[in-house]
């Protein structure tokens, strides 16, 4: 009767040009492993290609005909196999240069001939165990990070929705602004040396953009939801949301040094500034406006145009793009306008996709 419950045995590839050496190693490792053998580097590379991550370990000789062990390591680096498959070098070469080179090429361990049963067994088992643990941990961390991000995103969406409800904004304004900002920043970073932001910084600015209108909490709800044209005084009250938002962020009793909070402050305060200095509240111009605020300003303008408000109808995508490019929504940084032009084509699809993702 066969026993089907046994897990499949782990595979070890033994690469050595001598049959005796291979069989000594195989014998030392014992029955608990499935042994695969190669008698030179070329065969080894073919077998690694065939089995891939199913190999738990490679025991590798260096001096061999056809292709030597260093070359095998080099190929494993080229194809990134070395990250997932541990290699123990087994060689009678013992100069430090030789050993150093093997380690530099990514070998995990080095066992010197003549073989000692216990040394070969222990080191092989330890290496397999460590790599197995590492793989397991990596999986765990990836799951956690994913769950964290998902929950964070849900929380932001919920809070955003509350804010939108209060401010009389439609549907997905905050998530849209976040997505558009992210697209613009990615494009800027890719196409323009001047805005070479690391990915982490881009995510941070996109995240902080969710707070851009937080200052509207300090603005009278009736003014925000008034369908008719605003009086000069009312307009002033609405415009105050930029400074009020910045104050709210600044008064956070903790974390004022955090980059996220710094970005949120810039965005709240300056997302209505214009490149030519005609915006509010400070009339900043050009590069004095932080890039985070510039990007969110444009994203905000586009999304407000394309959605209905109590005081205005929605404008179609193509018309909104045209208005922004024509300067009808204020003057933007020409580099930013270039970036906007290149994302405009895929903007609608991406916004639809991201709203589905968040469901």
């Amino acid at each position: 009767m066969t026993d089907n419950r046994k897990p499949p045995r782990q595979k070890i590839l033994i690469v050595d040009d001598s049959e005796i050496n291979r069989s000594i190693l195989a014998d030392m490792l014992g029955d608990e492993f499935e042994i695969i053998e190669a008698s030179n580097g070329l065969e080894a590379v073919e077998l690694i290609n065939l089995y891939g991550r199913k190999l738990s370990l490679v025991l590798l000789d260096i001096i061999m005909p056809q292709m030597d062990g260093f070359e095998v390591l080099a190929r494993m680096n080229e194809r990134k196999w070395i990250q997932d498959i541990p290699v123990i070098i087994i060689s009678s070469e013992n100069t430090s240069q030789f050993i150093e080179r093997a380690y530099e090429l990514g070998a995990t361990d080095y066992i010197q001939r003549p073989f000692d049963t216990n040394v070969v067994r222990r080191r092989s088992l330890n290496t397999i165990m460590l790599y197995g643990k590492q793989k397991e941990l990596k999986g765990l961390i990836e799951d956690r990070v994913y769950r964290r991000e998902h929950e964070q995103s849900l929380m932001i969406n919920a809070l955003s929705h509350i804010l939108e409800f209060r401010n009389g904004e439609s549907g997905n304004h905050i998530t849209n602004v976040r997505k558009i900002s992210e697209m613009l920043l990615n494009t800027l970073a890719k196409n323009n040396e001047k805005y070479k932001l690391p990915q982490s910084e881009i995510s941070l600015i996109a995240l902080a953009s969710a707070l851009h209108d937080v200052g509207k909490l300090a603005v009278d709800k009736d003014i925000l939801n008034k369908p008719q044209k605003l009086t000069a005084k009312e307009q002033e009250a609405v415009r105050a949301h930029a400074l009020r938002g910045a104050e709210i962020i600044k008064q956070l009793p903790y974390a004022s040094d955090e980059p996220l909070i710094k970005h949120a402050y810039e965005i709240c305060r300056w997302h209505h500034e214009h490149w030519d200095g005609s915006g509010y509240p400070d009339g900043l111009e050009g590069d004095k406006i932080p890039v985070s605020a510039q990007v969110v300003g444009l994203a905000d303008a586009y999304d407000t145009l394309t959605n209905k408000r109590v005081y205005k109808e929605a404008v179609p995508h193509s018309k909104a793009v045209e208005m922004i490019l024509n300067g009808e929504c204020g003057v933007f940084n020409p580099d930013l306008i270039e970036a906007f032009k290149s994302v405009a084509g895929t903007l609608q699809t991406n916004l639809r996709l991201s709203s589905l993702e968040d469901l």
Partner: protein
């Protein structure tokens, strides 16, 4: 012939080999494979062809196998040959007769095990 006698005759190290390979059964299994190993034949052929790289690899393999099996005398002489060949020189004629003699002695005595 016992394994201990065998190692004594061929200038090997029985105690060391036993401590690494652990059982007589295992030592015997691999020692009796030695005559089928082709590295000595390959070494002679490569030397006849003046192919120093092939000769180096064959000598290196012979050295490795001899080391693993605890054939110390054979290991040492093949190590000397390996190092000369590694430097790119084919001048191993001073060592080859002794290497051949030790190799033959080893193979002949394996037949008596």
């Amino acid at each position: 012939m016992t394994l201990e006698n065998f190692y004594e005759v061929i200038g090997g190290d029985y105690t060391g080999t036993k401590s690494r390979l652990l059982t007589d059964e295992r030592i015997l299994r691999f020692v009796t494979k030695f005559p089928a190993d082709e590295s000595f034949k390959n070494l002679e052929k490569a030397l006849a062809d003046n192919n120093v790289q092939e000769a180096f690899r064959a000598a290196h393999t012979l050295k490795g196998v001899a080391g693993n099996l605890g054939f110390n005398a054979l290991f040492e002489i093949s190590q000397e040959v390996t190092e000369i060949l590694r430097g790119g020189s084919l001048e191993v004629s001073a060592h080859m007769p002794k290497l051949k003699q030790l190799y033959n002695l080893t193979v002949e005595n394996i037949a008596n095990l």
